[in-house]
């Protein structure tokens, strides 16, 4: 039982990070029906900016006196940077192709992904960038079960971000405009919703969440690396598909499921096939529900 609970905690931590990344895929898909393969790179870039910001704060000595402020500031800086980066990528790589076939934009996204990841390699080097180690060390032990402060921090921050995104999309005017654009661009333009602005905003929010996941990832695993966006990107994409691509709640659920299945597959059956379990679940769900778990009411709630 203790073993089960420990693995459950591991799964929730990992799944939460996947969910944050998956949201970006699903939101962008909802609005412009594009699978933004460069999204994993926003996640990596967020991790890097966070590392640089934290290293700066540690360097000037604020880290010891005001750790919470420094951490919050790092999160905000990274999220803002990645939002800006994503808007730029959209303007350069996707917007000119919006009227072409979807395949053109998809290829452009793949190219952007390679470009960004190699750009990070060239500017930041091939070695791991290390996160300052003093943050949130320590853990609670309950018998065999241990929960680290970091896990608590990550899970609660993920929850806050997910709830606030839900509020934004479903309770505000901006959210309403996003949902309207997702349903029908022409019609929403007729009621004075600028679709370009909404698309930029969608990219910005998605990338901001990915950046937050990037910092959490860096804190949790101790370092970031230029190629770190690829595999979590693929997993998060699968999570988005699993939950029903275009559906926000679906992406959150999908992320958690993929994270849990991976951990339980590795913990109970074998570590070498953990990716296989995740994809078996994906195939199984898509076989019975081709639109994904939350896919049926796709026209009402997608963003």
């Amino acid at each position: 039982m203790e073993y089960f609970i420990q693995q459950l905690i591991n799964g929730i931590t990992l799944g939460g990070m996947y969910a944050l990344i998956a949201l970006g895929y699903t939101m962008v898909y909802g609005v412009i029906q594009l699978i933004n393969f460069a999204h994993g790179e926003f996640f990596a870039a967020g991790g890097y900016v966070g590392a640089i910001a934290l290293a700066y704060f540690a360097g000037v000595g604020y880290m010891d006196s005001h750790p919470v402020i420094c951490l919050t500031a790092s999160f905000l800086i990274a999220m803002a940077y990645c939002a800006y980066l994503a808007v730029g990528v959209e303007k350069i790589a996707y917007k000119p192709l919006r009227k072409n076939s979807r395949l053109a934009a998809l290829l452009s996204a793949l190219g952007m992904s390679i470009f960004l990841s190699n750009g990070m390699m060239l500017t930041q080097g091939v070695y791991d960038k290390v996160y300052p180690g003093e943050l949130f060390q320590g853990r609670f032990d309950f018998g065999m079960i241990s929960i680290s402060y970091l896990q608590i921090m990550i899970v609660s921050l993920t929850a806050i971000l997910l709830v606030s995104l839900n509020l934004l999309v479903f309770k505000t005017k901006i959210g309403m405009a996003m949902r309207a654009t997702a349903q029908d661009k022409t019609m929403s333009a007729l009621v004075a919703i600028g679709s370009n602005r909404i698309i930029s905003l969608t990219f910005a929010i998605g990338a901001g969440l990915a950046a937050a996941a990037g910092i959490m990832y860096g804190l949790y695993y101790g370092s970031v690396k230029y190629d770190m966006g690829f595999i979590p990107g693929i997993k998060a994409f699968s999570a988005a598909v699993l939950g029903g691509i275009g559906n926000i709640t679906g992406a959150m659920i999908g992320g958690l499921i993929i994270g849990m299945v991976e951990i339980f597959g590795a913990g109970y059956i074998s570590g070498e096939y953990k990716d296989v379990f995740a994809f078996i679940i994906l195939i199984g769900v898509l076989y019975f529900k081709p639109n994904g778990i939350m896919g049926e009411n796709i026209d009402d709630t997608r963003v």
């Binding site: 990992l14 791991d128 290390v130 101790g222 370092s223 190629d227 951990i263 570590g271």
Partner: protein, 378 residues
């Protein structure tokens, strides 16, 4: 139309360096193969830097008679067997005089088959799998040690020095890591230790919490990590400590990288690893340090071995006065010099001997701790 002509001319300019280069200088080209992109890019870059250092030392000493300069063609294998084969073919087209590489055993083995068809000398600075030299290729050499020496040394260390009775083994399924893990398992069982579990993770994984929870529950004396590269090893160490795993961590040569401690920080303290013994007090090491460190930073894993490999190759070419592989091989076999990483002397099968000892991480540094014959090192 005009635009097209301009662009064709512009494309033509790309060829200029090749034309000019071909006419005016006689260049000795050697190749290197290592992962310059992908998860092992850092280790691959160390190898490239080691070779570049060797070339610069040779050039500073007047170069090789008959050649105006020595050039390196550094190929990226990405630790991918297919890309390694492509890189080998590229080096064949460039007519290189010899190759230093590759890093991953799984790249070295197929690439060496390709190079062997053209009788090109290959010296691997880092591939420790037995099969690298056991296939009987005439032009395959190895500067580092062998896994079938490393595995028993590691098992002996765990039993004699750490008094271990139970071991939990993890590998990441590469030719290198799995070969070594299997070797350690075999040796450990022969020595009467119990292997409680042998688990696998995937290359590129960052989250090891599932497997570590398993290991924590098994609570073996030793947690043996057989991973390709310092980066996953550092992450695994960090996560293991965070989870409160109490087994002693023991790992191997691929982790011998100062970055391991930088990433894993305090979690790395007290970890052991086996690595070929390098005497850091030799004048050769000191001289290398003086050139390498200001240019490329800390000396890591296989930079020294790559330097020795390139030096051996260049020395042999110099002595042979030609790049004819048979003659260069004859000179390579005659070599007997103190390199930076080790004393270089090749045996008939291309190996140059192993000297595995155990290092311990103390205050963020690898400190020689134990050696198979005399035991603890003071």
């Amino acid at each position: 139309m005009k635009k097209r002509i301009v662009s064709i001319l512009a494309m033509g300019l790309i060829l200029v360096p090749f034309l000019v280069g071909g006419v005016c200088a006689k260049t000795l080209t050697i190749g290197s193969m290592s992962p310059l992109t992908g998860p092992y890019a850092s280790d691959g870059t160390d190898i490239k830097n080691g070779v570049l250092t060797a070339i610069s030392v040779f050039e500073a000493a007047g170069g090789i008679a008959g050649y105006d300069k020595i050039e390196l063609s550094a190929q990226d294998t990405a630790c991918d067997p297919r890309q390694a084969v492509a890189a080998a073919n590229k080096l064949i087209n460039l007519e290189v005089a010899g190759v230093v590489g590759a890093y991953c055993s799984s790249s070295t083995i197929p690439a060496s088959e390709v190079l062997a068809e053209e009788d090109i000398i290959m010296i691997t600075p880092a591939s420790t799998n037995e099969q690298v030299t056991d296939r009987g290729l005439p032009y395959m050499f190895r500067m580092c040690g062998r896994d079938d020496d490393q595995a028993p040394a590691a098992a002996k260390f765990m039993k004699e020095s750490l008094g271990a009775k139970t071991i939990f083994i993890v590998d990441d399924k590469t030719t290198y890591s799995q070969g070594l893990a299997d070797g350690v398992k075999k040796a450990a069982i022969e020595m009467g230790m119990e292997v409680v579990n042998h688990e696998h993770v995937n290359q590129g994984d960052k989250d090891f919490s599932a497997v570590l929870t398993m290991a924590k529950q098994a609570n073996a004396d030793i947690f043996y990590m057989s991973l390709q590269g310092y980066s996953p090893a550092a992450m695994m160490t960090l996560q293991a400590k965070r989870l409160g795993m109490e087994s002693q961590i023991v790992t191997q040569d691929a982790v011998f990288q100062p970055k391991y401690m930088e990433v894993a920080k305090e979690a790395a303290e007290g970890a052991y690893l086996t690595y070929g013994f390098t005497d850091e007090t030799t004048p050769e090491y000191k001289a290398f340090e003086k050139i390498y460190v200001p240019k490329y930073g800390k000396i890591a894993a296989y930079a020294t071995y790559a330097y020795d490999s390139a030096t051996a190759l260049l020395k042999a070419i110099q002595a042979a006065g030609t790049t004819d592989p048979a003659k260069v091989k004859a000179e390579l076999m005659k070599l007997d010099f103190q390199g930076v990483a080790k004393h270089v002397k090749f045996a008939a099968n291309g190996d140059s001997g192993s000297s595995y000892i155990a290092y311990k991480v103390v205050d963020g540094k690898f400190v020689p701790y134990w050696e198979p014959i005399k035991g603890l090192i003071k």
